[in-house]
């Protein structure tokens, strides 16, 4: 029954049957900054790809004249997941920071816990736009500097904070996206930051 087997989804690892709460964290950054690498290093599944389409009018697929009649924008992103416990599963999305992506932010990533802006110090310009958009969407975030071995500059975190005009309250950390423990630290830094913010909110009546 070889053909029947090949029709099965390839080695999917199902979630626990008690899984009930899905959570989101978005990793955003310029091309080749290490988004997929970071997702892979912490995910329990091989990163998967998917896409969303949007017509210029802002709806899905045109009703009257068919899809070909309208300009469609496609945004592709990849994701991985972490089962936090039997009930909670965290999805990590690696998303490109370019303009057309942000049109889909609300549709895809509303309700996200927070975001990680992944920075390559050789191309810091790519990060400004993402930081600006996250502030606009009021999404809490941390910034992680993915240190590449062949980066000659070795800017200090202080220098990077200045260059990005990053406010003091936004956590900024070094990471190596290839290393699981480092990726894990990035996520913990973000969630810790969210936790502190939630605590502060809950203290004020």
């Amino acid at each position: 029954m070889g053909s029947a087997i090949s029709e099965l989804p390839s080695q999917r690892t199902p979630l626990a049957d008690a899984a009930e709460t899905g959570l989101k964290i978005v990793i955003v950054g310029g091309f080749g900054v290490g988004k997929t690498t970071l997702v892979r290093s912490v995910s329990e599944i091989r990163p998967l790809n998917t896409e969303e389409v949007m017509t210029q009018a802002g709806v899905g697929v045109d009703e009257t004249s068919g899809v070909a009649a309208k300009t469609t924008t496609t945004v592709a992103f990849d994701f991985g997941r972490i089962s936090l416990n039997d009930r909670m599963v965290l999805y990590l999305f690696g998303a490109p920071g370019q303009k057309r992506f942000w049109f889909l932010w609300d549709r895809l990533f509303s309700g996200t816990l927070g975001a990680v802006v992944l920075v390559d110090t050789r191309r810091m310009d790519d990060s400004w736009y993402a930081i600006d958009r996250l502030e606009h969407h009021k999404t809490p975030f941390v910034v992680a500097v993915n240190r590449f071995d062949n980066d000659p500059s070795r800017h200090s975190l202080d220098e990077i904070r200045q260059a990005l005009a990053l406010p003091e309250h936004v956590p900024l950390i070094d990471c190596d996206a290839r290393v699981r423990s480092s990726g894990k630290d990035v996520l913990i830094t973000l969630v810790n930051h969210l936790y502190e913010q939630a605590k502060a909110r809950e203290m004020t009546p």
């Binding site: 029709e7 989804p9 999917r12 199902p14 979630l15 626990a16 049957d17 899984a19 009930e20 709460t21 899905g22 959570l23 989101k24 912490v42 998967l48 790809n49 998917t50 896409e51 969303e52 389409v53 949007m54 709806v59 899905g60 697929v61 045109d62 009703e63 068919g66 899809v67 070909a68 496609t74 994701f79 997941r81 972490i82 089962s83 936090l84 416990n85 909670m88 599963v89 965290l90 999805y91 999305f93 895809l108 990533f109 509303s110 309700g111 996200t112 816990l113 009021k138 894990k184 996520l187 913990i188 969630v191 810790n192 969210l194 936790y195 913010q197 939630a198 605590k199 909110r201 809950e202």
Partner: protein, 118 residues
């Protein structure tokens, strides 16, 4: 297997799969977990069959989209069909979609706990 338009990258594939509809069910978040409530039946649209097969265990909308190689919008439409027919149930995320209800510290503490024990 017969190759349908959806398999061939035909530009009209989305239109074909959804029967020309465009209104996706917004209730389905990317991380809404979907669970089948019945077995697929003969004569069902093949995408519906695949979703019911996948969702024997809870499966997030985004994983369904990746497995079916269909855009999120299309998957939301297909899930809307299955929900209307009572063939699936949906476990929606607790973290609400508005700023007004940001996740509370208790939830975040559970997340932290999970991450620290990876």
């Amino acid at each position: 297997m017969i190759r349908r338009p959806v398999d061939t990258g035909d530009p009209d594939r989305l239109y074909t799969v959804t029967g020309g509809r465009s209104r996706a069910d917004d209730a389905f978040d990317l991380v809404t977990l979907v669970v089948s409530e019945c077995e697929p039946t003969a004569g069902m649209q093949s995408e519906h069959t695949r979703i019911l097969d996948l969702c024997r265990h809870p499966t997030a909308v985004v994983e369904i989209a990746a497995e079916l190689k269909l855009p999120i919008t299309v998957v939301r439409i297909l899930l809307g069909d299955l929900l209307a027919m009572g063939n699936i149930t949906a476990r929606h995320p607790r973290a609400a979609r508005s700023i007004a209800s940001l996740p509370d510290s208790a939830l975040l503490q559970e997340v932290l706990h999970g991450l620290r024990h990876l």
